[in-house]
């Protein structure tokens, strides 16, 4: 019987796969490049922007050239690589979650109703946008903590200091109240339920 302790020990250094990918420039260079190139090329092919006819070979080459340049110039901005690293894993998680939901709902062998479909659309848009904004702000990128924000806040400050914001809110409030009071849609709906006056009198 072979003793397990007697087995030859292999000197195996557990290599972190992520580290390996990073080390060879996959995460920072190859993957973003391929993603950007393929998406932009696909969009150009879809829109036929640079093609004279659908079979135009030169146009196709120009699209490829444009996508190549687009990808190279995009990854020059290192922030993009960070955004992608933060956004894509979480968005993929969202895809997994929704596909699991699709699998579970497929068990019922019945299509989900339209109101639930509408609700899901809002949820999907909300989640993905939230993830995107989150990945922008976590990186401390200029999109979230930038002069753009300071510009917006300075506009808000000037609006507040000049009293314009209060004026806008007051007018908005008055407008909503007037619309609610004078709208009169409810009245018509009530009449619809009750039916014509002649029938009601009977």
């Amino acid at each position: 019987m072979t003793n397990l302790g007697q087995l030859p020990q292999i000197n195996f250094n557990p290599v972190n796969f992520n580290q390996l990918l990073s080390q060879y420039g996959f995460i920072d260079f190859v993957l973003p490049f391929l993603l950007i190139f393929s998406l932009v090329f696909m969009l150009l092919e879809l829109s036929n922007l640079l093609k004279v006819s659908p079979d135009d070979v030169v146009g196709r080459k120009l699209s490829a050239l444009f996508s190549l340049a687009f990808a190279l110039l995009s990854i020059y901005n290192q922030n993009l690589v960070r955004w992608l690293l933060l956004f894509i894993p979480k968005a993929s998680l969202a895809i997994i979650a929704f596909s699991l939901m699709v699998i579970v709902l497929a068990l019922t062998n019945k299509k989900i109703p339209s109101w639930l479909r509408a609700f899901f659309a809002f949820i999907i848009v909300g989640i993905i946008l939230w993830l995107a904004i989150n990945s922008l702000s976590i990186t401390g990128s200029s999109a979230a903590s930038s002069p753009l924000i300071s510009l917006l806040s300075s506009i808000l400050d000037s609006l507040m200091q000049s009293g314009m914001l209060a004026l806008l809110i007051i007018f908005g409030f008055i407008f909503i109240v007037v619309m609610l009071v004078v709208g009169g849609e409810k009245k018509e709906e009530e009449e619809k339920i009750k039916g014509p006056i002649i029938l009601r009198s009977k």
Partner: protein, 215 residues
Amino acid sequence: MDLSSFIYSLFSEYGIFTFVAPFLLIFSLLYGSLRKIGLFGRDNPNKEKLYAIISMVIAFYYLYSISDVIFTSNFISFFFFEVLVIFFILMIIAMMASISEPYKGDEEFERYKQYSHNVIVGFLTLTVLFAFLYASSVDFNGFGATAQNIILEIILALIYTGLLPLIIIIGIIAAAIYWVYKKEEPPKKRRKRRYFLIAFPEALYELPEHTRSRK
């Protein structure tokens, strides 16, 4: 030094990011556009050469301003991120569309759906504006400072010259006059509030289907 940093420094050193890529971007875009619109006639034998020369010259002029190149880099990178976000949304939406049934509405609902589609198209167009604002906010030395100053100065001028209150008051008066004098719609065609909520998602669900049916 890891490989990615080495590639970056190598590319920067040889001007791939600041010379080759921007040149190819502008050249291919201009050359392709000129070919497509056929500005110099379809039968001109020298048109291809002329297009190439014009595109090349404009691309070199563009490269002259390095700050504009950096601005472009920021601009298109943020734009790509937005495209990716839209891509993810459409992917999940298309997945959900396969297991749900669309709302079958009347003619009015279809009209609302068309309006919602237009609103979505408007939002998609806004991505370019957002990318521009991002790039303006990052690149101070180049385009950014000017763009920011213009926006800020316009708004401040509107506020301090008293034009903004005037515009708001005129707007309110115009809205009130329109509201009073507008033609009353027959009761059957009154807006259904429920349509507001359902038409937008339905238009969103239709987007991937439109893309799929494209040849």
